[in-house]
Structure formats: structure tokens, C-alpha cells
Symmetry: C2
Amino acid sequence: MDNTNGIKEILSVKNNLSNEAPIGVFDSGVGGLTVAREIMRQLPHENIVYFGDTARVPYGSKSKSNILRFSRQIIRFLRTKDVKAIVVACNTVSALALETVQEESDIPILGVIAPGARVAVQSTKNGIIGVAGTEATIQSETYTKIIRQMNPDAVVIGKPCPLFVPLVEEGFAKHRITEEVIDIYLSDMRKTEIDTMILGCTHYPLLRSRIKAYFGEKVHIVNPAYETAMDLKKILFERGIENRSERAAAYKFYVSDAAEKFTRFANGILTYDVASTRLVNIEEY
Amino acid sequence: MDNTNGIKEILSVKNNLSNEAPIGVFDSGVGGLTVAREIMRQLPHENIVYFGDTARVPYGSKSKSNILRFSRQIIRFLRTKDVKAIVVACNTVSALALETVQEESDIPILGVIAPGARVAVQSTKNGIIGVAGTEATIQSETYTKIIRQMNPDAVVIGKPCPLFVPLVEEGFAKHRITEEVIDIYLSDMRKTEIDTMILGCTHYPLLRSRIKAYFGEKVHIVNPAYETAMDLKKILFERGIENRSERAAAYKFYVSDAAEKFTRFANGILTYDVASTRLVNIEEY
């Protein structure tokens, strides 16, 4: 390679990183696809590199130190794909590790909790907000803290629903049994005065219609994915790093285990057809 | 340290490794405690080092290559505790990785599948045997292969029950919902002519009474833990490495995450009182 080519390559890499570079999106497994789907819809020109940590799913019952370690490994992996921004499409990571990884990073990293909290605060009339999430997310009280920063008078009622993730992952989202598990976890919350409820785990939008039917018309159900994609759009345009190419966006999927199962699942969630998913040994990063 | 002390130390290490050295027992999480409990009962003088891979649980939906990698890391960790033998108290690992790790090891490594298969073959009258297990265990057909080696005419009917592990881990073992999930997974098997059924996952003995009631008196339920402890006893005595000390056995517990939750769970399963569980970064091994 001569010097001229060397310079061209550097320029093209720089160029790549500023506008056509992909958005990195990650989650503990398939749940984050509900966020990726929203980014595809609202930002159809953006390329996406998705990583699902299927070798270590679920995150919701794991400790802060492990969640932080997992997140750093995934961010190091995504950086090898020259991503220009990262969306943490996992509430547990957003609750436990977001601030730390944001401080360590020179590219924008967005979580799903602040966007979800904002919509909830805007939509509630009586200031009583419910949050369903994993054990780790609810115990961290991150939703409560962020909602209170926006509205100090808000009342937040959190409830961990640890079986929701395996029910979704094992294909029981539309099964009658899921209705009963919803009742077991959320009957106490239904008795309260909440008028807004946040689906505080990216798997839960896949149970949205069931949960909506359970709470009825009086409760507004918030899926943070929509608002997260809006935030991403705003940041890309503010920094002038949105993709202006007219080419069709490219989507790439990586997982740490069971790639075929992931591909089948992804094809059930996305309108885009996932041809293949690649396997990554994430512990090497 | 002078030479005399050096020699003493070597002798004591050697001595340690041959008789008073602990038994290593491992599982993806808490399920293997049902096997550890049986070893404590049948071999009350043996010291035990238990490892539960709570950072990466569940194993049942993960691939062979990852299960093998996880197992090698855990075995390397257990060897730092100078274990004289290892019991793989996890059906998924026994199904997918046992042969390989046995070939790589100079100490005995026992699984739970061969012992369970043997009891089933001995107890069946019509040769029709059911096996409930994780997706990985059932798909591997390891139970079928081992049972057929013992009785080529046996008919084996396997059924993956992926929700059983999260139901147990989340404390739903005695909940009504578990009865319904048992019915969803096992109603087809109940219609067959099986007269023997293997609980092919170390979590499932914690659902034993429910499953027994579901199948009724005509089906004999096999819990491989008992026979696995018997096998261990036999190997220790054959090799003359059983612990002849009269001291009370010491039990040590290690996990890769959420040590307190594990301790609470262990205290619900074991008769021995677990004072504390230590955290290990298993990816360093």
C-alpha cells in the first residue's frame, strides 16, 4: 500500500465514523430488538450493528459489577465496528451501568430509562406512575430517581416481574399462562391509583397488548423504545452525524450464543428479514 | 522456609489431595444443590467445594461450544481448591461436555446422566421411559443413547421443559402456576405408556412432588442425585481416596454472581446452614 492509498483509507474511515458509520444497539438478548425496530422505523437511513448477549441472558437477576463488566466488553466489541453512537437497549444496563460507560466514552451512549421516564412524567395526570421491570432495575430505583428529578412530587410504584423475560424468550407471550403471571405480579399495582405505567424492560413490549388489556383504558402504557429512537434522532442531527446517504440501510446482528434461535426470533419481531446472525466470543473483548 | 518445612508441605499437599481433599461439585446455579445434598447425606465425611455459575445461568438454552468453555473454566477454578474428584451436578453439562472434560482430566469426573439412566433401566417394566430436561439436554439425545446402550429395546420419550428452571429460581415451585406449566409440558407424555420418568435436570427434583402427583402411582419418578452420590462413593472407595477423617466435613460455596440470593436459596434446600457464599470472577479461569 503506498502513501496515497493510506491517506485515502484514513479519510474514508474518518468519513465513515462521522455519518455513514452504524449505530450500535445492544441488549442481554432479543428484547432490545423492540428498540432496534423503532430506530429502523424512525431513522430508516441509519445502519445498525446489533449485539444480543444470549450467552449470559438474563441480566435482570445479576449484580451491578457483572452488568458493568458485560457492558464494557460489549462496548469494546461495538467499537471494533466503528459505531458512531450506542443505544443501550436494555433497562437493566441503563439502570446499573449507563452513567459509568457514558463517562468512559467519547461517542454518545443513550439509555432507555430517561426517555421512558420523560414520557411518563408528561402523560401522567395524577403523578402516580407504575414501573414494571427486572429485579435489578426495580431495586436500583433508577426510574424513581429520574422521574423525581423531573417531577419531585411524583409517586413511583415499582414491581419486579422476573418471569416475564423467560416467558417471552420461551415463546409464551400469547399463552394463557402469561395472563396469570401478569395477574400474580401486577394485581397489587392495579389496585393503586396509577394512571401511567412504564414497560421498564425491553422484553415487555412483546406483552404490551396483554398488559394493556389487564389495566384497561384508565392506565396509559409507556413503551420507552419510541422516545429512545426520538432522542437518538435528535442527537445525530444536533451533532450533524446523521446518515445522509440514500442507500438502503444495512443491519448486522451478532450474538454470544445460539445464533439460529436468535435469527428465528428476530424474524418474528422485525419487519426487516434477518438473513443470518453471527456468533461472537464476547469474553475476548 | 527451610528444606524440612518444604518437604512437610509437599507431603501434606499430597496427603490432602488423596483423602481429605474436597469433592468439587458444580452446576449452572442452585439446581446442583439437590446433588450436593445427596452427597452430604451419603458421604458425611467428605468435604465439598460447590460452584454455581449464577452469572451465566441458565445453561439449558445455550450451545455446546459455550457449555464446554464454561465447564473448562469451572474445572480450572475447582482444581485451584485441590479437589480430588468432580461431580458435574448439571444435566446440560453432563449431556454436552462430560466426555471431553473427562478425557482432559487426571482426576475422576462424574456426571448425572449415566446414574439416572441406570436406575430408570432397572426400574422400568415395559421399557418405556420418559425424560424431562432442558432444551439442550433433550436435543442432545444423550439420555436416549445411554439408555439404549443398557437396553437396546428401550423406548425413550424426551420433553424439553425450559420454564421449569426460571420457575424454580424465582420461587414459584409451590405456586399453582407451576401446576399449569407442568400440564402444558407434560400432558402429551402422560398420555403415553411410560412407567418410569427421569427428572433430567437438577432443578426438577424441587418440583418432584408436583410432578409425581401429576403422573400418579403408575409412573416411577427417578431423581438421578441419589444414584450419582452412590457412584461417587464407589469410585472413592475403589481408589482408596475416601476421607477417613473423623472431623466434621467442611462445605464451601462459590458463585459467579448474586451470592446473597444463592445463600438464601441454599438455606432453603440444605439441612446444613450455609453461612456465606463467596464470589468468583469465573471468566478469569
